[in-house]
Symmetry: C2
Subunit: 244 residues, 2 copies
Amino acid sequence: MKLHGRKAEESPDPGPSLRAAPFFAAVTSEPEPLLSPRQRQQLLAIATRIKLSARSVVYREQTPAQWVFINAEGVVKTFKELRSGRRCVMSFWYPKDVFGLASNGLYVRTAQAVTAVELYRIETDVLVETLRRDAELQFRFLCKVTHELRETQRQAIIVGRRDAVGRLAMFIRHLERSSQDRRHSGDIDIPMSRSDVASYLGLSLESVSRATSKLEKRGIITFPDRHSARILDRQQFERLAIPV
Amino acid sequence: MKLHGRKAEESPDPGPSLRAAPFFAAVTSEPEPLLSPRQRQQLLAIATRIKLSARSVVYREQTPAQWVFINAEGVVKTFKELRSGRRCVMSFWYPKDVFGLASNGLYVRTAQAVTAVELYRIETDVLVETLRRDAELQFRFLCKVTHELRETQRQAIIVGRRDAVGRLAMFIRHLERSSQDRRHSGDIDIPMSRSDVASYLGLSLESVSRATSKLEKRGIITFPDRHSARILDRQQFERLAIPV
DNA sequence: CGTAGTATTGAAACGGATCAATATCTGTGG
DNA sequence: CCACAGATATTGATCCGTTTCAATACTACG
C-alpha cells in the first residue's frame, strides 16, 4: 500500500532498513538479514531523512562522495552519461537499497530520482567510522553489498541475451519481485520510462516498444497503462524470462 | 615477475592478500587498502593453500558453500550453465581476488580453473566468525566486495555495447590492467580461450575471432599467439575501448 | 487546452548469429 | 621426438533481428 499520510509525526521513524539475501551462509540460520531495531536506531542517529521530487539529481558522477544514501521510499536510478549523449542506466534503487558508495572518494555514476523519493543521507566518513567500530552492523552492509553484486551479475546476464522480448520479460519479472512489498493489485508497477528501461536493457527505445507490443499481441502480458503490467499467461511468461 | 620456484619453503607464506580500489573515501587517505601483514597472518591461520591444475572444477553451482577462496596464483572463471548448453561466463578471478561468496549457503556459479592455480581456501563459517569479531579486517572485505561490484557494473557496460570490436577492445584493456603486476614483456597475457572470451562478452566465438582479425588488419593490435596481444596503435585502441 | 517530452509504428540497412568448411593448436601415446 | 586425434580457432555465406531514420500518436504538466 502507499504510505499515505505523515505517520512519521505520530510514531517515530524506525530508521533505515536494508534488504538482502543472507550472505555467507544460511548455516547460521538467519531468516532475517535485515537490521535489528537497535541497528536502525543507530543509523537513524547519524542519518538525515530528505525528500526529493521526481527527476531531482541526487549526486553527479565524479563529484566528491559526501554522503551515502539509503532509500526509504520511491525509486532512484543511477546512470553513466556517455559522450554520444547516450545514457547507460546501471541500476534502479528501491526502498531498503543502499547507494552512493564511492570509489576513491568520488561518486561513480549520476543518481537521479525516478519518482518522488525519501532518502536517508549519511555522511560517508561518519558511516565508515561507525562501521569500523561495529562489526555486526558492518556485517549487514557486507551482506547488502554482496547482494547487490549478485543483482548486478544478474543484470549482466539479462543484457547478454540478444532477443529483445526475452530481455524485457526478464526485466518485468525483476520488477515484479522487487516491488512485491508494495503491490496493491495484481499489477506490476513500472515506475520508470520506456526510455529508462531501454537504456537499462541495452536496447533502443523502439525495440522496447516493439517488445511490449509483441508480449501483448501474444497474450502474455497486458499493459493497462505505460506504468503498469499484468501477466496473463504465467507459464509462457516464465519460459521467456528464463535465460537461454 | 613470475614467482618461480618454491620460495614458500624458504620464506614463510605471507598469507592471502586482497586487491581493491579504496571503497568509501579517499578522505581517510589510504593509498593501500590491502591487508596488513598482521591481517594476512590472521587469514593464513584459518586458510589452507591448495593447488589445482588447469580445468579443475573448484565448486559447482547450487552446492553447499563450504569454503570461500582467495586466489593466490593463476586464473579462475565462474560461469552459469544454461539449459541450452550455452555457458555464460560471469567473471575471471585473478590473484588477490575473493570468490565463492554464497547466497543462502549455496554457490551461485560454477568455478573452474582456467590455468593451473593456487588458492587459499577458508571455511565459510570460520571466515564469517572471524570477520564478525574483527571490524577492521571485515572492512577490507567490504572494500573488496564493493570493488567487485564496480567491476561487474563495468562488465555490464561492456556487454551493453553492440559492436563486437569495441567489446573486445574493452576486454583487452581490462586484461591489460588486471595483469599489470605480472607482465614481463609489453605483451598482454590472455590466459583464457577465445570461447571463454566470447561467452564473457556475450558474443559468438566467430564474432570474437572476426573482431581479432579486424583489430589486426587495422594495425591496432597484433596477436603473436592466441594467448597474448600487443597494442600497436595506442590512440586508436583507446578510442575503441571507450564506451560509446 | 496547448505544448513539449514520451511512445508507437513502419521501412530500410547494418551487424552479429548461425551453419558449414577448413585450419591450427594441444596434449597424448607410440 | 614425432604423429595423430580431439579440441579450439579462423574464415566464408546467408539469415534474422535490432538499429536507425522518419512520421505520427499519445500523455503529462503547466
